[in-house]
C-alpha cells in the first residue's frame, strides 16, 4: 500500500486528497516512514509528526485539509537553506549547528499556505557552495542511482530525496546550477525560475544577485505546481517580482511553431562533455524536431567566460553575506579573550574548506586595488552574457544544452581539484548570470566515461526572462515524448 502511495505524483496525490480518496495523514505517514529509513543522508532533519510539519501560523491538520488548497497534504523536502521557524536550519554548515530561526522564509510560507507540509530539511553543500554535496558539514548525501556517486549539488539532498522516493517533491536554490545539476544527476526535473520570481526572504544568502529558489520534482507538472504556489512579489524582498500571469498547469503535447537554438559554445564545441551525455543530448534534439520544433545552431560567444565571471561575482557577494556568521548574535562561538581572535577562531572552526576558499576568493576580488580587475570586469562579462542571450532569443524561443557535462561522478573524485569541480557548472552558470529561467529534465541514461552502470542525463531548456510558464509547457511536451523511466534506477 505505502509503496503504491510513494509512486503517486504530486498532481495525483493532491487530486486524491482533495477528492477524499486519500487521507492526507496517511500519505504523510507513508513518506515519514520512508524518510525515517533515509540511507542517502538526504535529510538533516525530519518531522516526527504532522504537528511538526505544519509550522506555525498556517497549520493544516487532517480535518483542515482544505480542498481548495492546491498542495493540500503534500509533503515537501525543503533544502536546509530555507529558514523555518523553530526548526533547525543550518545551510549545511557547522557554524549554524543547532540554530532555529525566529521566522519562516516566504517560499516555505507560501507552500504551507497552499497546504503543503514540511517533511524534512534537505542536506546540501555548505551555504550552497558546491556541485556534489560533499561540502556539507554533515556528510555528503548520496546518489540513489549509485550510492558510491554524488547526487550533485548544492541541492543534492533535495534531489536525492525526490529521486530516492523519500519525498514526492522538494525545493532548492540555484545560484550557478545548484537545482538543475543535481536534478540531472539524479534523474529528476529541476527548475531555476527567472530571478525575482520567488522571494528570497528567509533563504540564507549565498550570492544574492544570482540566488533563486525553485522546485525539484519527478515531473514537469509537479514542478509547475510547486512554482505556482511559491512565485509572487514579496514586500520583504525588494528584488522579487513574481511572474506576471502566474504559472498554469503545463499541457502542451507538441512543439509546433517553436524554435530552439543550440549554442555551439555549450554543446558541440564544449570541452569535457562525456560521449554518453552528448549522445543523449543529440537524441533529444532530434526528438524536438520530431515534435515539430525547429532546431538550429546558435552562438553565445561570452558563455565560455561564465565560469570566470561567476567565480568572481558569487564569492564576492558570498564573502559579504557570510560576514554575519561571527559568533555574536547566534550560531557557533569559539571563546577567546579578544574580539578579533573570537571572530577568527569561530569562523575557522565553523566554516568548511570550500566556504573558506570562496570567502578568500571573494574578499581578494573586492580588496583594494583589485576591484576593477576582478569584480568590475566580471560584472561587464555578465552584461555581455545577458546580451548574448537576448540576441539568441530574438531568433529562438528557447536555447537548449546538456545540463551537466558528465553523469554523476564518484564520491571524492573531484574534491582535490576545486577548478574541476567548478567546471561541473559550465553549462548552467550562464543562465543565472543573465537572470533567465532554465529547467533540466531527465532525457535518458548513459554510461559514465570509462564504463559502468547507466546513469541519468539531464537536458536543459532556457528561455527569456519571465518565460517560465511557456518553458514549463515546452518541457512538458518534450518530457512526454522522452518517456523517461526510472527502470534500472533507484527502486
Amino acid at each position: 500500500m505505502s509503496e503504491e502511495l510513494l509512486d503517486l505524483t504530486v498532481a495525483q496525490a493532491s487530486e486524491r486528497i482533495r477528492s477524499g480518496e486519500l487521507a492526507a495523514d496517511e500519505y504523510f505517514d507513508a513518506y515519514r516512514e520512508a524518510a525515517a529509513g533515509d540511507s542517502l543522508n538526504a535529510l538533516l532533519w525530519r518531522a516526527d509528526d504532522v504537528g511538526q510539519a505544519d509550522l506555525e501560523g498556517t497549520r493544516a491538520s487532517r480535518d483542515e485539509v482544505d480542498a481548495e488548497r492546491p498542495l493540500a497534504g503534500i509533503p515537501v523536502a525543503v533544502k536546509d537553506i530555507f529558514c523555518t521557524e523553530g526548526v533547525p536550519t543550518t545551510a549545511g554548515s557547522r557554524i549554524l549547528e543547532g540554530y532555529r530561526p525566529p521566522y519562516t522564509s516566504t517560499a516555505v510560507r507560501r507552500l504551507r499556505q497552499a497546504g503543503a507540509r514540511v517533511l524534512g530539511k534537505a542536506n546540501m553543500d555548505e551555504f550552497a557552495m558546491g556541485s556534489s554535496n560533499e561540502n556539507s558539514g554533515y556528510g555528503p548525501a548520496l546518489n540513489p542511482w549509485d550510492s558510491g556517486r554524488v547526487p550533485g549539488g548544492s541541492s543534492g539532498g533535495s534531489a536525492a530525496a525526490v529521486a530516492g522516493r523519500l519525498a514526492p517533491c522538494a525545493i532548492g536554490t540555484d545560484t550557478g546550477g545548484s537545482i538543475r545539476q543535481p536534478a540531472a544527476l539524479c534523474g529528476i526535473v529541476g527548475m531555476k525560475p527567472t530571478y525575482g520570481a520567488v522571494s528570497r526572504y528567509g533563504m540564507i544568502a549565498f550570492a544574492s544577485s544570482l540566488d533563486q529558489c525553485g522546485p525539484l520534482a519527478r515531473n514537469v507538472t509537479d514542478a509547475a505546481l510547486l512554482l505556482r504556489a511559491m512565485e509572487g512579489r514579496d514586500p520583504c524582498d525588494s528584488t522579487s517580482t513574481g511572474i506576471e500571469g502566474g504559472i498554469g498547469l503545463p499541457s502542451r503535447e507538441d512543439l509546433e511553431g517553436l524554435s530552439f537554438g543550440v549554442p555551439k559554445e555549450l554543446a558541440s564545441e564544449a570541452e569535457g562533455i562525456e560521449t554518453g551525455v552528448r549522445e543523449v543530448f543529440e537524441r533529444t534534439v532530434a526528438r524536438i524536431e520530431e515534435l515539430g520544433g525547429e532546431v538550429a545552431e546558435t552562438e553565445l560567444p561570452h558563455a565560455p567566460h561564465g565560469i570566470s565571471a561567476y567565480y568572481v561575482l558569487a564569492p564576492a557577494e558570498a564573502s559579504a553575506n557570510l560576514a554575519r556568521f561571527d559568533g555574536v548574535r547566534y550560531g557557533l562561538r569559539v571563546d577567546a579573550e579578544e574580539l578579533t581572535e573570537m571572530y577568527e577562531e569561530t569562523r575557522a572552526k565553523g566554516f568548511g574548506p570550500e566556504v573558506k576558499r570562496r570567502i578568500m576568493l571573494g574578499t581578494y576580488a573586492l580588496s583594494s586595488g583589485y576591484y576593477e580587475a576582478y569584480y568590475g570586469r566580471a560584472q561587464r562579462v555578465r552584461t555581455k552574457i545577458a546580451e548574448d542571450f537576448s540576441k539568441a532569443f530574438e531568433r529562438f524561443d528557447f536555447v537548449v544544452t546538456p545540463t551537466s557535462p558528465t553523469v554523476a561522478f564518484k564520491l571524492g573524485e573531484r574534491t582535490d581539484d576545486p577548478l574541476a569541480m567548478y567546471l561541473s557548472d559550465y553549462c548552467t552558470v550562464p543562465m543565472p548570470l543573465a537572470g533567465i529561467p532554465a529547467i533540466s529534465i531527465p532525457a535518458g541514461t548513459a554510461q559514465p566515461e570509462g564504463g559502468g552502470t547507466e546513469l541519468p542525463v539531464g537536458f536543459q531548456i532556457a528561455g527569456p526572462a519571465f518565460s517560465d510558464a511557456a518553458m514549463l509547457d515546452t518541457a512538458h511536451a518534450l518530457e512526454r515524448a522522452i518517456g523517461f523511466s526510472r527502470n534500472g534506477g533507484p527502486n
Binding site: 530561526p101 522564509s105 528567509g202 533563504m203 573586492l366
Partner: protein
Amino acid sequence: MSEFEAVIGLEIHVQLSTRTKMFCGCEPSFGDEPNTHTCPVCLGHPGSLPTTNEQAIRYALMIAAALECEVPPRSIFHRKQYFYPDQAKNYQISQYDEPLAVNGRLGDVRIERAHLEEDTAKMIHVGESGRIHGSGASLVDFNRAGTPLVEIVTEPDLRSAQQVRDWAQLLRTTIRQLGVSDVNMEEGSLRVDANVSIRPAGSDRLGTKTELKNMNSFRFLERGIEAELERQRGLVEGGERVVQDTLHFHPEDGSLTPLRSKEYAHDYRYFPEPDLVPVVPTEEMLRGARESLPELPAHRRERYLNEIGLNEEAATMLAFQSEYGEYFERAVAAGDGTPAKSIANWVTGELVATLRQAGAEEDPLASKATPEAVAALAGLVEAKTISHGAGKQVLTRLVEEGGDPAEIVEREGLAQISDTSELEKIVDRAIEAETEAAEQVRQGNEKAIGRLVGAVMKETKGRADGGAVTRLIKERL
C-alpha cells in the same frame, strides 16, 4: 614664523526621525531597555533582507533641497564591509559612488555630498566581566542599529573653530526647521566629525589632516578643533610633522587622544548592495521635497536685510537662532501694523538683554513675555503712548510675570505725559535745579543737555518723550 591657516572639513551624521528604521519595520528607540527594538533584519539573521524606508528617502531629499544639492537621476546603495560587533551584518548599507545628493552649499560652505546609510548598534564596555576570566567584555544593544542617517560631507571650506561652531549651528537650525531630525548633539542625533589640517597662510596645498571624533556639543566642537589646531601649530613650529590619525575628544578635560591605529588599515571592500534596487527620485518626490521646505535661515537673513531693513547683526541673529527667529515671526504676525523693524529692535535688543539678566536667554519662547505682548509693547512705544524708557520697564514686568503691556502701563501709571503744560513745568524746574548744566547749554555745549533731560526723566519716571523734552529745553535756553 609665518602665519598658519586652518583648513577644516566636516563629516556630519544626522539621525532621521522616521517612525521605522532604515531597512526594517522596527521603531528606532533611545533610552528603552536594550534589544527591545529588533527583528531578524536589524539583527542580521540568516536569510533576512533589507527593505528601504520611503520616508527616509523623502527626508533625505528635503535635506538635499535645503542644502541646495543636485540630486542625480539615480542613486544606489553599497555594502561597506568591516567587522565590528555594532554592525549586525558586519557590513553597513551605505551609499558610495552614487549618492543621493551632491554639490550643495549652505552659507559659505560647499557641500560635497549627502547620502543615506544605517546607524550602528550601541556598545557598552563592561570591564573585566567577560566569559573568560579577567578579560574585558562589551555589551551590544541593537535598538539604535538601523536607524536612518544622512551623512553630509562638506568641502574643506572652514577656516576656524569659531566658524565651524557658527556654521554647525546654522546647519542644525536649517535641519531642525525641516522637521526631519531632532538634530541634538548631546543626544547624538547630530554628530559632527572634523577633518583638520593647517597650512601656511596663502598657500593652497593641503596639509596632513587628522580626524576628530566625539565632540558632542557645539562648545566641545569648537574646543576640540581649537585644541587640535594648537597642537598642529606646535608640531609644525617645532619642526615636526603632523601624522594622519583619528583623534578622540575627551569632554572631561578637553584632551585629544589618538584611537589606537587599527591593526590593519581599513579596506572596506565596497560593492553594490544586491538586495536593494536603485533609488530614482521621481518628479513628485523632488517637488514634494522642495515644497515642504520652510523658509531657510540663509533666505530669511536676506529677507530681513533687504525687505525689513534690519542691520546685519539683527538679521543674522533672527535668521540663524531659530528660537528668536520664530519669536520674531510670531510677534510680527501679532503686531497689527507695528513696523517689523521696530519689533525686531525690541526682540534683538531689550528682550535679549532682559532675558539674559533673568538668566533665560536660551529660549525666548519659553519666557513669560509672549511674542504677542512684545509686539503690543513695540506698538505702544511706536504710537508714543509710552516712552522708550517706560517700555523697558514694561518689558521687565513682562519677563517677570507676563501679562498685557496696556494693563501694565495703566496699572503702573507709565503712560507718556502728553499734557505739554505739565511737561513745561517739569522742564522749568529742572533748568532751575541744574543751573550749571543750563549755563553750559546756553554757551553752546550741546552735550550738557543730557543732564537736563535725565533730570526730567527722573522726575517723570521715564514717562516723558525724550524728543519733546529736548525740544522744550532748547526753546527755553
